[in-house]
Symmetry: C2
Subunit: 248 residues, 2 copies
Amino acid sequence: MPLSTPDRSQVEPVIRRLNVLRPLSTEARTLLEYAMLEGVQRAGSGEDLISEGDAVDSVRLVLSGWLCRYKTLEDGRRQIVNFLFPGESCDAHAFLLSVMDHSIATMTPVIYTEIKRARFEGLVASDRTLAEAFWCETLVNSAIQREWAINLGRRVAFERVAHLFCEIVERLRPVGMVDGNSCVMPVTQMDLADATGLSVVHLNRTVQELRASGLIVLRDRTLTISDLDALKNAALFSPSYLQLYRRD
Amino acid sequence: MPLSTPDRSQVEPVIRRLNVLRPLSTEARTLLEYAMLEGVQRAGSGEDLISEGDAVDSVRLVLSGWLCRYKTLEDGRRQIVNFLFPGESCDAHAFLLSVMDHSIATMTPVIYTEIKRARFEGLVASDRTLAEAFWCETLVNSAIQREWAINLGRRVAFERVAHLFCEIVERLRPVGMVDGNSCVMPVTQMDLADATGLSVVHLNRTVQELRASGLIVLRDRTLTISDLDALKNAALFSPSYLQLYRRD
DNA sequence: GCGCACTGTTAACTTATTGAAATGCCGGAA
DNA sequence: TTCCGGCATTTCAATAAGTTAACAGTGCGC
């Protein structure tokens, strides 16, 4: 359903993020803003926006809320392979492949905008900075994916969960969703377990350890990081893969 | 060092792979072939072609040999996050980001071709099918990366190693490196351990288990898969993420 | 109010995986 | 040939993580 009151500010996270990745021309910004405002949609929590095996014919951009990419095995085991935060893009250019290799689900109520394939191709064809910004977006996504591989393969549970929290905070900060050293943590421990490759029980144990070590407070769906540097150290976290700052 | 005898057939794996991802126009094929033949290079086994933190200013395409992308933690723990096989591209468009988030190393002697950034940009600007093929290549790479995440996060050691072997065979097959049900396995068990997120000891045990169950023979750097369907079942392997066949 | 589902928490126990160390097997260098 | 280093293999004890199950808090529908 189209949103009743299109509001330019709601698409700002996307513009801002792309602009950090590649400075956008004024026209690019205007064109994109316009296209985004036309396709605004809402989804409830826990919905699949697209599923493994589905064909793709549009690009979705997240305006608010948390989503995840995930894959499942036949017997039900599930791995969240990435989160999607406001300003990020679900699947730029994914229509170049025949079908989705993974699913995308909302973890909170979500507002996103959908740009149909033809429209999107017109946009990126019309402006080089826009095309490059979207490519950067997918490249950063790949880099995050690689960091998740080393997280899952080589960090122990404690470091792994700490690393996830560090990453979440650093990805939420640029879109203004971090207040001091706190942010919302709207997902269940089962989701966190699926993101870190742990069992729910062991994830819970690990969260307790993080609490006991004084690094975090996690209560009432709010994560507070008492000492971010200490948490980063514990997690062996180094944020360069997130490409948070514009290169010169 | 440039290769003494440029030979059109040596760049064929790249052309063939891109052509599966997106049918290339005849001109595109010719242009790319020409550019590739100009930049042919060799590297020995165990060399870093590029390291985490390095700036990127060219695109490398693998003509022969095995490489890997890997990341390390400060204390030396290492995770191979992907392999690179003949026909594949190391870092198309990676120059859009400021620095490498990971390293690329050769695991065997390698022949590759290097196309400088400006040249590469000219190529993809001149032909739409070429640009799309390279984009597809990076998208498939992302899909593989996601499959590795579920492999590392949710498969147990036995399934994990089985899955890696399935993937290797399916990725080598299109470039003619699989002979019947056998292929070379030129890497050490330590490399396989780093790719599967296991310790060397446990990887060795797991390989023994795979042998004992009659699924594989691994000897003299040669992997023979006795019953591929059985191995795929054991691995919960489903090859669609590899995008091996051209979509219609 | 009551029951119910979902989530978080904890315990006890089992299993998977790691780590250190020793052994043997090559193949290459001297 | 001998020595040596890299690699595969095995053992054993130690530890990390999974499994099952129970229980408590919370919010929700009725």
